[in-house]
Structure formats: structure tokens, C-alpha cells
Symmetry: C2
Subunit: 510 residues, 2 copies
């Protein structure tokens, strides 16, 4: 019986292989030959710190990516610099294919979220990429890259900031192009490359780039390689993303830290003030209580509703995997809650808790909020609603630390810093070229491709629509459990290789 | 006119000097000769880290203090070690005065609160003591100690962990004894010295010491040199202290940090859970809402009420100095609020806020609470009330990180760690020997001595009463703005010298 099962599985597997278009088979074969060279190249890129505010290292990342592109004979490789001096540039290049009628721009970003190295697991460092024989950061499972010719297990992972978000995206695009050409083929469209350098910092200068280089950036569609595939493990295509805007709020206690015995409960404690302020922002069912917060939401179209209904259900799997039983937003499925604007506490701090705690009244409490936006929301309006809510709780709101005079005038003071953000974007699900991308990716998807009207995550796609009137579609490649944005970020090798085939399929689509 | 004023001031000053008992004048003169030697000695002691859990350095502190005592011919200098191995010892010594009928034990502690060096001002380090020509930590005002013979301005301060809390207390006692003897005098009582090594860690082993050394620790009264003098700048004597007990609370979100876009508002955010939990602990008027929190408070006696009524009012001065206008506990004066049990947030943390913030859902949020207790409260009962309150908010309470099974069973989980603490203590205000101490200190107080039934701060005096049936009275010496327990802790030179005279006056009392 066992044997029969095995034979049957083997048959199925062969059928799958046979079902792949021959062009993609050639890409896979080439990739198998190149694995070691490519992984070494990837590790080299991951070793360069990539926070957008770190101009020196951003430049080093951009230079290395340009080298990689020139090595692959990509043309017109250059930096697209925004008008603002010293803001991170995008890396650009292009391939003109004789006879091609369509132009596709492939987007990824090479900058990453800020890192707190102290939070990474023992033996791991954000910019010391390591290969790990396991799913989680475990120093005992760090292994050397096997020598060329020895197999690299596809379940191994590479741990480093940017591994999945989004240097893996950059590399999958470059590797896909290389694999097509080196396997004796050519893309069926003109290919452009656009690698952004400040996506994780809010893409504050992206619009300057878009407005400055309209000729370079002409295309039929932008294909965005960023974010994770579906939690079910299936490939995913996404017609939109949520918008995003951050805010920092600081509230104030005494001007100097005080002994909690001599002053506690008489002098206002900023941690308690912050707790009350944050608690006022959501009700017991997890709905945001800020006035007007859900007012501007554009309803889903019938096609979007249908796509959501067709998505595999992963709620129970994710609850189990993430160790909780009751969602914050009671009565909503994961996908339903992602179709609403959100308010999330990214971090909260007041003096020290735990081992470093001292018996003090802290001087300040600080929180960073993350507002996600859906179609219909304007990020500045949402930020203003949060500010108005803070005022409605009796706070005097300023954008600086309060002066002695202000402290004498107002019982409750909040410093509110609004960061630049961007709105949500959704491409209509019936756009012909988008449908072609879907079909191309489906040929590499072993049966199941998940189609989503909007990702929970954010990308500045709204800006492409606004400033270039361009269409976008997101084709993520990373494993869902990649610790994106946090400590121990990682990408599974298999997802890199699947990503290469996905990007190649799009370049090869008729 | 100016000249007349000056002469008049000079006259007043001379009168004050003349009004001091001659024995104290001799002490002052001796101190003036010794200033440089003493400050060098103090700086040497402050340079040794002194967190109670740091056994190696605690031992170094104790050894140096014993050397200082032997140098002063104090007898029977030794460590009083608790039964528990490796717990911090107390340093002991004694002076038997021929014909003396009373025995006074002088208490101070040489351990300090935990330090977070990153929080100290630029150029300052907790265990690199510096002399500063100013009130606040300002690297530009760091000055070298002038050479012997040059004056040391009494408004200068020494910045270091333990400067005021409480190595300054240790030194003022040793210097007072030295000044009496070297100025050709003798104390009028037998003097015992007891310097504790784990006060800031909750005095967990103090009772073992008290029970193990009953003969050494026989006395008529313990004089406690710890804490600040009154905010008005006047000397202060205190008949009691509040009790103290800490708790750590951790609440749990997902098992790994998550991208806030892909999961925000569906996966429970522990920072929001913590905000709601803390917000539930106090009402809008700053009163603790935990059931039974104020139930066991022993009412103040008429003498205690009268003492409070006679205290200088500093509320407006302190609001101005600390930069706020509305107390947390609305309608209560500072002193009134200190006569109640309190609940203070010492620190609160969940992932990172501000510069290091990332767009994540944190995995945990943590808070450290500080419960102060007044006469009538039992610290374990108060801790249990907080725990019961957490349960009443729907939490499953455990004392470990939750298992996968627990996560599958309970929607809200809190880890609650209860630290050892101690109860409040109040010595009756009509105790004869306590009255004698008051009168002795009054002779050095230039007119105004503030008498307080209970300090806001805490000391394990309850244990002296419980295990030794001993009387205690607190005679603090530090400046009120000393940043005790926090970064940039400091002591004003003048307060050290006043402290020497205060301690000497008690040793010399008839």
C-alpha cells in the first residue's frame, strides 16, 4: 500500500513538472547551476546595513546592486535621485527586447526597517547573514553554505535584515532575468528595473523621483515584488495594498525622574497617562473609537468580495501558529479585518520595566502608532483624527517638547509627531494586463494561486497611480513566517527559487 | 544701605554660629580641615558598583567600608552575614563609651538602585563620580576637586549612583564619629554602626541578619540616615516610613513579532492589552480602583495629624520645580497623598517606540509596579489585591511564560511576579528617646526642623520592630532634588556637611 502511494505521488510530481512550460523548466535548470554563486551574491548584499537614514550604507547598497546589474548586461543602469539632496536614490536599469510591445517595470526595495540588534537571538546579528538549518533563529543550527555542487536544502533559511523585505525581492528579479538570458531565451516584453531605497522610511521622496523621470518610468504595468506569499504556502497575487502613516506620541510627567515613594501618586505618572490615552482609542471589541475613523472607506466591489470569499481560510492555522485564541477585532476574519483601516501600537516605552526597573516616576511615556489605510482614506485626515482624539481627552497638543510656560498652562501635554505616509491603492480586478500577469504566474503555481484585492501591508503604490497614472500589481515571494520588520528576519531558500520562476514567468508572458 | 544690610547679615550669621553648642562647633572645625581627605574617600567608595545582586562588587564595597571603620579605631568591625549563602552582608562595628547608659545604632545602606548608564547625561557615568559646579548633570560644569586648602563650594554636587542614596548616609555617620573623636571629644552614648547591603533590592535577607545577631543589635533606638531632607531645605526627622513591594506584569501577544500591516488589529496587541489593564487600575481622579486597596489603612493619631498640619507647605514650589499643574491624585496635598497606599508605574515597555520603532505587533508588554504601603497594610495582601484585579479583567494569571497549551486555553494571559517587600512602620511620636533625638537635631537646625509622621519613601523599619522589638527614627540628610533612584543621582556638598553635624549631635546627646 505504501509503495502504491509512493508511485502515485511520483506520478503526480512528474505530471506537475511536465505541466510547467518548457521556458520555465530552462530557468529552473539554470538556477540549479547558479545556486551557490547566487546565494554568495545575496549574502554579500545582506551584509550592508540598509536603514534609509544611513546615507553612507544606502549608497553602498545602491552601488553593489548597480554592479550586479551591469554584470548582467542590463542597460542604462543609473541612480534615479530625488530632487531633495542626499535622499535615498532608486536604482534603475532597462532591457529593450526587439519586437516587444509591452513594457513591464519590476519594483523591489533595498532599504530595510530599523534594527535593534539586542533583540536578535543569540548568535544572530542583523547584518551578518547566516544560513540556518531550521525555521527559527537557533545558533546551534547555523551552518556554512555547502561547497558548490553540494545541494542546498530548500527548507533552509537565510537570516538577516532585508532577507525577505526586500533584498530577496531585488535578487529574484535580477536572477530571473539572468536565468532567462543564460538559458538561451529572451523576455517577451521590455523589462525595466526600479529598486527603491526608502520604502521602509515611508517613501517620502518617491514622488520626486516619479515626477523627475517620467520617460524612464513609462510602462504598461509595475510588478511589485515585496511581501509574503499566502500563509497556506500558495503563491499570491495582490491587486492593492493598504496605505500607511506613522505617528509618535509623547506625554509628560515631571521634568526629572522622581523617587516613587516620595512623590508617587501626587506627581502625574506619564506611563499611566499614556495607558489611559491608548485605552481610550479602542473599545472592548477592538474597534477604533476615534471619531470618523471608519467613515471614508470605499466599499468592496463584487469582484473583490468574490476574491476574498475564494481565498483559502487560514484563521485557525494562524491562531494556532501565533499562540492566541481570540482576535483583537472580535467577529472579523483576518482577511475582513485587513479590509478596514487600522490603528496599531508598534511600541510603547516609559523608563524601564523588569530587570532595569527602578522605583521612579518616569519623566515621559512614548508610543509609536501605525495607521493602515484602505481605499477612500486620506492619511493626513486619519492622522488629524487621531490628533483630534488626543485633544478631546484633554490634552494640549504640540510638536515639540513643552516649554516651562506650557507646563504651567496645561495639565496634560502631548507631543504628536506625524510622519509622512501614503494612501491605499487598489487596481481594478478586470484590468487586462493585470489578468495576463495572473495567468503567467498561475502556470508556475502548481495549481493554486491566491488572488487578493488588497494586502494588509503597505507600499507606496498610490503614488504610482497619482503621479504616473500607472497600473500596479503585487507579486510577493517571501515565506509568510519571515519575521519581516522585526528581529530574526529570514527567507526560506525555496521561496527565493520560487520567486525566480514567478518573475521569469512574467518576463516571458506573451 | 547695602553696607548696613551686610553688617546686619553678618551679625545674624555670628549669632547663629554662637547659638550652636560648642561641641558641634568643634565638629565643624574638624570637618573643615578634613574636607578634601573625606571627599576623596567618598569618591573612592562611589566608584564601586553597588547593585545588591552583584556579589563581587557588594563584597568590595563592604571591604572598603570595613577598612574605613578600622582606620577610625571602631571596634569589632565585621560582616553580619545572613543565613542564606552569598546574600549581601551588613557591615557592623561598635564603640563602647565608658559610663554611657544608652546605645544608639546608626543605620545606612551601601547598595544602590539598578542603573541604566544609557540614561545618564552626556559625560556622566553612574560609577565615575564627578564634582559638578551646578545643580543638574552638565558635562561642561564638571570640575576637578580643588587641591587641599582651597575651598570646596558647598553648593557644588557630586554625581554618582549612591551619592545620596545612601553612601552619603554611610559616610556622614563615619565622619561624624571621626570628627567627635579627633576634636577631642567622646560620644555620650554607645555607638553601633549597621550598614545594609541590599536595601534597594527589598532587604530580602535582613530578617535573617536581625535574628542571627541579637546581641550585636541590642540598642535603645536605631537612627536611620537615608532619604532627603525637606523640600523647603530644612532638616527633617521622620517617625515612620511607608512599606514597599514591587510587581512585574507581562501580557502576551503573538509568539513572534508580526508585520503590523499583515496582522494588525486581528492579532491581539499586548501593548494595547497592557494599556487597558493599567488604565483600569486608577480612576480619573487618580484613586486606585482595585478592590479593597484603601481598606486596611490605620487612621492617623492626633499627634500625627498635628505634625502634618505644622509642616511647611511646598506643593506650589514642587509643582513649579517639577513642571506640572495638576496632581495625579486630585484634591490631595503632597503630604496627604503620602499617607495613603499607592500604586505607581515604574516603567512600561513593549517593543520600541520612537527612533527604533518598527511596524510590528509586539510579542509582549511588560510593566513594573511599585506598591507603597501605610500602617495597617500588609504587602502580600496588597499584591494579592492587584493580582485579583488582573484576574477580574479576564486574565489567566501565571508566574511563568505561558505554555502553548495555556495559550490555546485562555484569551488573555498575564505573568505576575511578586517581589518580596515589607510593611510600613511608624514609631509613636511620644516615645521619650525619639523626643531626645528630635531635640538634639533641633540644636543644629538653625531654627526650623520639620517633623513628619511618615516619609513617602520606604525602608525595612518594620522588620526592626517585628524581629528585634526595636525603635527607629529616620534622620535623612540628602538634598531633595538628588535624582535618587534614577539617572544623574547626586548629593550637594552642603548636605553632606550638615549631615555630619546632625549625626554628631545625636552621638553627643545627653
Amino acid at each position: 500500500m505504501k509503495k502504491l502511494c509512493f508511485l502515485f505521488s511520483l506520478c503526480l510530481y512528474s505530471l506537475q513538472i511536465l505541466a510547467q512550460p518548457p521556458a520555465i523548466e530552462k530557468v529552473r535548470k539554470l538556477r540549479q547551476e547558479k545556486e551557490h554563486e547566487w546565494l554568495n551574491e545575496f549574502i554579500q548584499l545582506l551584509a550592508i546595513p540598509n536603514e534609509a537614514s544611513d546615507a553612507y550604507n544606502i549608497q553602498r547598497n545602491a552601488s553593489l546592486i548597480m554592479d550586479m546589474m551591469r554584470k548582467r548586461n542590463i542597460q542604462d543602469v543609473k541612480l534615479l535621485s530625488p530632487a531633495t539632496k542626499d535622499a535615498p536614490p532608486a536604482v534603475y536599469g532597462e532591457i529593450k527586447v526587439p519586437g516587444a510591445v509591452k513594457t513591464i517595470i519590476f519594483y523591489a526595495h533595498y532599504d530595510g526597517q530599523p534594527v535593534d540588534p539586542t533583540k536578535w537571538a543569540k548568535g544572530f546579528q542583523p547584518f551578518t547573514p547566516v544560513l540556518v538549518n531550521g525555521k527559527t533563529a537557533d545558533a546551534e543550527k547555523i551552518i556554512p553554505l555547502p561547497p558548490a555542487g553540494s545541494p542546498v536544502n530548500e527548507d533552509w533559511r537565510i537570516f538577516a535584515r532585508g532577507a525577505s523585505d526586500d533584498k530577496g525581492g531585488v535578487m529574484s528579479i535580477l536572477w530571473a532575468y539572468e536565468a532567462i538570458v543564460k538559458s538561451g531565451q529572451l523576455p517577451n516584453c521590455n523589462v525595466k528595473f526600479f529598486f527603491e531605497g526608502e520604502e521602509e522610511a515611508g517613501s517620502g521622496h518617491l514622488q520626486e523621483i516619479l515626477l523627475k523621470y517620467p520617460n524612464e518610468l513609462k510602462s504598461d504595468i509595475w510588478v511589485i515584488s515585496d511581501g509574503p506569499v499566502h500563509q497556506s504556502g500558495n503563491k499570491l497575487i495582490c491587486f492593492g495594498v493598504r496605505g500607511d502613516a506613522n505617528m509618535d506620541i509623547t506625554v509628560y510627567g515631571p521634568t526629572r525622574p522622581l523617587h516613587s515613594g516620595h512623590y508617587g501618586n501626587w506627581v502625574p505618572n506619564p506611563a499611566l497617562m499614556m495607558a489611559k490615552l491608548l485605552a481610550s482609542m479602542k473599545d472592548e471589541k477592538g474597534k477604533v473609537t476615534i471619531k470618523g475613523f471608519y467613515d471614508d472607506v470605499t466599499p468592496l466591489s463584487p469582484a473583490e468580495k468574490a476574491a476574498i470569499a475564494n481565498m483559502p481560510k487560514v484563521d485557525e492555522q494562524m491562531k494556532n501558529e501565533l499562540g492566541f485564541i481570540k482576535p483583537e477585532m472580535d467577529g472579523y476574519s483576518l482577511q475582513e479585518s485587513l479590509m478596514l483601516p487600522s490603528l496599531n501600537i508598534n511600541g510603547m516605552q516609559s523608563a524601564n520595566a523588569g530587570k532595569l526597573a527602578a522605583n521612579v516616576i518616569p519623566t515621559i511615556a512614548m508610543v509609536t502608532l501605525d495607521l493602515r489605510l484602505v481605499k477612500g482614506n486620506d492619511y493626513e485626515v486619519q492622522q488629524q483624527r487621531v490628533t483630534d482624539h488626543i485633544k478631546a481627552q484633554g490634552y494640549y497638543v504640540t510638536d515639540k517638547d513643552p516649554t516651562a510656560e506650557e507646563r504651567k498652562q496645561y495639565p496634560k501635554i502631548a507631543k504628536v509627531i506625524k510622519y509622512d505616509g501614503y494612501n491605499a491603492q487598489r487596481t481594478p480586478m478586470d484590468l487586462p494586463i493585470a489578468k495576463e500577469v495572473v495567468e503567467a504566474v498561475r502556470t508556475t503555481a502548481n495549481g493554486t494561486l491566491v488572488i487578493v484585492p488588497s494586502l494588509g501591508g503597505s507600499l507606496p503604490l498610490y503614488k504610482f497611480e497619482k503621479y504616473l497614472k500607472a497600473n500596479t500589481i503585487s507579486v510577493p515571494i517571501a515565506n509568510h513566517d519571515n519575521n519581516q520588520h522585526a528581529e530574526n528576519e529570514n527567507i526560506r531558500i525555496k521561496n527565493l527559487w520560487n520567486g525566480v520562476e514567478t518573475m521569469a514567468a512574467i518576463m516571458l508572458m506573451k
